[in-house]
């Protein structure tokens, strides 16, 4: 297969059918074809995590996934975490804790943290650091980011 390849992907709960070039990454297609620019392009070598999205239930660096590999799959981007215009508990915690400085890494941080909290309801500080080890923050807001994830986990537990 070369040229444009037809694929079907469910993005943030909505089924989409479109054509992609074989050498375009999931990141490029999300941003340039679907205008979902919350997912950021940064290092392009899988080290910074700014392009983190959930693919078929697991987080990936979308710069290291060809769009055609996602054919038939389900993708959730940071835009898919808020519902009806309301921020998720985790997103609110990032604001409350002042975890956002320049903000560029935050979509990736939040998608990775959301994944962590799906796997581990009450993560320790060590588990939060390990869960977010693939997400770099040049503003070095790691303390606040860790606090935000812990606060969101505590709030979730309190709400149950």
């Amino acid at each position: 297969m070369s040229g444009r390849i037809p694929i079907q992907v469910t993005v943030n709960g909505r089924a989409r059918a479109f054509e992609v070039a074989a050498h375009h990454t999931l990141l490029e297609v999300l941003r340039d074809d679907l205008q979902l620019t919350g997912t950021k392009e940064c290092c392009l070598v899988g080290e910074c995590g700014a392009c983190t999205v959930r693919l078929d239930g697991r987080i990936v660096d979308s710069c290291l996934v060809l769009a055609v590999e996602a054919d038939g799959g389900e993708v959730t981007t940071v835009e898919g975490l808020a519902s009806d215009g309301r921020l998720s508990r985790l997103q609110g915690a990032f604001l409350d804790e002042g975890a956002v400085q320049c903000g560029f890494c935050i979509p990736g941080q939040i998608v990775a943290a959301d994944d962590l909290l799906r796997r581990v309801a009450r993560p320790t500080v060590g588990e939060i650091q390990e869960g977010l080890a693939g997400n770099l923050c040049r503003c070095a807001c790691y303390g606040q980011i860790t606090a935000a994830v812990a606060a969101a986990a505590a709030a979730e537990a309190g709400a149950r």
Partner: protein, 290 residues
Amino acid sequence: MHAFSYERPATLARAVALLEAHGPEARVLAGGTDLIIRLRDGSLAPTVVVDLKRIAELEPGIREADGRLVIGATTVMTDIAADARIRRRFEALAEAAAVVGSVQIRNRATLGGNICNASPAADTAPALLVHGAVVVIAGPSGSRRIPIDGWFVRSGVTTLGRGELVTAIELPLPAAPMGSVHLRRTRRRGHDLASVTLCCGVDASGVTRLAYGSVGPRPVLAVDATGVLADRDAAPDARTGLLERMLAEATPSARSMRASPDYRLAMLRVLARRGVDIATARLAAAEGRR
């Protein structure tokens, strides 16, 4: 990224036919965590990329068969690190898989890809050497099996031939308990490549297997069958001399930016001693549970 054609074969036979027809012009895509970086930076420019993830015979998974644990080549690090059988019987491999890259990388990076990429720093390589892994290969003339120690040649080069691909990695289930451990040094905790990586396995008969990487062009396996290294009552000089001979194949490059040769060689000795101690203690604990 330059353009290439994308193939998504549904059968192993079709994948082998594609790889045989295109030879070095084709690259195999499994997790993509190494390949896509190299497609983007132009250091690889295949005309065809063959994606293995829709091949029925290559479904990821871990199963027991005929006294072996068979890990499908497309099984990702996350699932290897979480597998109860691997954690219990092949602890070094579970620990190695758990520190590859980040969560995002481990969700994508496959065991087959890690050995085919053949980085000297590959975290799983020393573990597979210690556990006596066998690489299962499919190719134009059928399938073959080779011990992992005959697999790695040098950085990026293996004994895989034209038209061949790895379908599984097999671990023989040890008859007697074995204690094993994976250790490494990195510049920072979390997502980093190893400056030194080492695994040690000690079995109930006293045989110690040491394997180390990131200190030369290929990972190295050294075996002490005398029982001296695992014997805490052995003369310290005897153990030191033995250890020196086992680590003699370490030849770290001065060109690598991650750590100096002196640092790597010094840390290799530290990790080797620590590895023997931990593996011996784990063996004792495993025997105590029997």
